[in-house]
């Protein structure tokens, strides 16, 4: 069983961070994982993406051409990765920043207003946590309580943001779960 996802957005949206947290959670759960960032020549404020693979067997290619899931946090990312999603796969669109959906009818599409939810929770920088939660809710790549533990560990030096991030994570998770149901 393998889950793989490309997470993509603006630099500064915390995309690489949630990718790392996802990979780290997988490792803590005893699964095989890899995390691969794009490291092409990018300028500040440009796009950032990473590929995370979580598997119960050693990870083959850490680079995925047709991922089982894509998390698109901005329009350039949606434009770039939408055609790559594997048939039957998942496309998660941050509808707070992207004003279009997808026309593909062979994949599952999940619209998540990640930034709006984060604002609502008074955690304006927590859009990435909403997206992470929504991905985990719809893929069940890792258990959500394990992600929660990783959130606590990741932000242990900034305890004031832990609860807000966990709230954002769970709101995303609920949306993801509902979409699957």
């Amino acid at each position: 069983m393998q889950n793989d996802v490309i997470m993509a957005g603006f630099g500064g949206q915390g995309i690489l961070l949630i990718g790392k947290m996802l990979a780290y959670t997988g490792m803590q759960e005893g699964l095989e994982v890899s995390w691969m960032p794009s490291y092409g020549p990018e300028m500040r404020g440009g796009t950032a993406n990473c590929t995370v693979v979580i598997s119960d067997r050693p990870v083959g290619s850490p680079v995925i051409q047709s991922p089982r899931a894509v998390v698109a946090m901005n329009l350039p990312s949606l434009d770039k990765f939408e055609p790559m999603v594997r048939k039957g796969g998942l496309l998660l669109i941050n509808s707070s920043l992207i004003d279009r959906s997808s026309t593909r009818d062979d994949i599952r599409i999940l619209l998540v207003p990640a930034n709006d939810i984060a604002m609502e929770l008074k955690n304006p920088r927590g859009g990435n946590m909403v997206a992470l939660g929504a991905y985990v809710g719809s893929s069940h790549a890792v258990p959500i309580d394990a992600v929660e533990r990783v959130v606590r560990e990741t932000f242990s030096s900034k305890p004031q943001v832990i609860d807000a991030n966990i709230a954002a994570l769970h709101r995303g998770y609920e949306l993801g779960e509902q979409a699957v149901a």
Binding site: V33, Y39, G40, P41, P58, G60, S61, P62, Q65, S66
Partner: protein, 362 residues
């Protein structure tokens, strides 16, 4: 020790520290900057020294000097940087200095690009610099293996008094995977005291001179014979490779090293689902090269497919291994483009269908 999620570059740095490396000299270049970055804060913690030199030429000659004192030393760079170090690498081989060199390959030639490549295979395995010398070259396919090979590399460098190169590509440098370091790791060789090291003459032992200059041709020939005997010993004792699916029947044998072999392993699984039988052999030591193992693994196969991120360099060694006994096919990407499992599958299917052109032996 528990598993840690580490970038390949950081794991390489930590592995060196665990192996007792206290000195690092380098010069920045993408995609391996996280190695010197890691060493710059890690080495001071253990009383070591990190130097960012003014150039690769300088860094590699600092390495020469430090290795001559018998300390465990390392440098890392990426393709164009390794080219700049190559003069000193030849000197280190000539002076029999144990050093660990890490090349996280990027696409060339020239300054090329910063994305992954395997186009430095010739440079690493066939010399690179001048003179009849060899590096012991090890190519990891995962972050864990990169860490393991760095630690083994220090033992092998000391044992043979020879530079060891860890040959990775940009993926190895940049990706994060779980890594475990074993606290009670033992050296893989019985290591002798470095009586050859130049640590200051106090009259109690022969004078130690680190040198690669021999103006008397007979003496230099003798020195060359000694080096060649060492390379022959490596060829006898240090061949490393892994095989995948070779216990079953198969039609196609894939030969790939480094992260490309990971891509091929994914392709193999998908091919199996399509009812096509393929196996793989992955050279881990590129010098010495597993000629005999490849010859044996190819026995059962109708054809051999070599996959590389280059125009085809290792394929020359595969051809030497097979001596024209099996048709060889090639799939390569260049410029920092990656081979995908889909491409490898497609190529295997073409070979099966007789639609792929064999690599010319002319």
């Amino acid at each position: 020790m528990a598993k840690k999620l580490m970038k390949g570059s950081e794991a390489i740095g930590e592995a060196a520290v665990q192996a007792g490396c206290k000195l690092f000299y380098g010069y920045p270049i993408t995609p391996q900057n996280e190695i010197p970055e890691y060493m710059s804060h890690r080495l001071p913690q253990i009383g070591g020294t990190f130097v960012q030199a003014e150039s690769e030429v300088s860094a590699s000659n600092m390495l020469y000097g430090a290795a001559g004192s018998g300390e465990r030393v390392m440098t890392s760079s990426s393709s164009p940087g390794i080219s700049l170090m190559t003069e000193a690498i030849s000197y280190m081989a000539g002076s029999e200095l144990p050093v660990v060199l890490v090349n996280i390959m990027r696409a060339g030639p020239g300054l090329g690009g910063i994305l992954p490549s395997q186009a430095d295979y010739f440079q690493a395995t066939k010399g690179g610099g001048h003179g009849d010398y060899r590096l012991l070259v090890l190519a990891p396919w995962s972050v864990q293996e990169a860490a393991d090979l760095v630690q083994d590399g220090f033992d092998l460098a000391d044992h043979y008094r020879n530079p060891v190169m860890i040959l990775g590509d940009g993926l190895i440098g940049q990706m994060m995977e779980p890594v475990e370091f074993h606290k009670d790791r033992k050296p893989i060789k019985e290591l002798k005291e470095k009586i050859w090291a130049a640590t200051g003459y106090d009259g109690t032992r022969p004078r130690a001179i680190i040198n690669s200059l021999f103006l008397d041709p007979a003496t230099l020939e003798k020195h060359n014979h000694k080096l060649q005997a060492k390379y022959a010993e490596m060829t006898r004792d240090e061949i490393r490779y892994e095989t995948y699916g070779t216990d079953k029947d198969y039609d196609i044998l894939i030969v790939a090293y480094g992260t490309v072999a990971r891509v091929c392993s994914t392709a193999m699984e998908d091919l199996e689902a399509d009812g096509i039988k393929a196996a793989m052999i992955r050279p881990i030591s590129l010098f010495p090269f597993p000629y005999e193992a490849i010859r044996k693994a190819a026995d059962k196969a109708d054809a051999v497919l070599v996959v590389e991120l280059s125009a085809g360099q290792m394929i020359e060694d595969v051809r030497l291994a097979l001596e024209g006994n099996k048709p060889i096919h090639f799939h390569g990407r260049m410029g920092g483009m990656l081979a995908s499992p889909e491409e490898v599958m497609e190529k295997v299917k073409e070979i099966k269908a007789g639609k792929s052109q064999e690599v010319s032996h002319v």
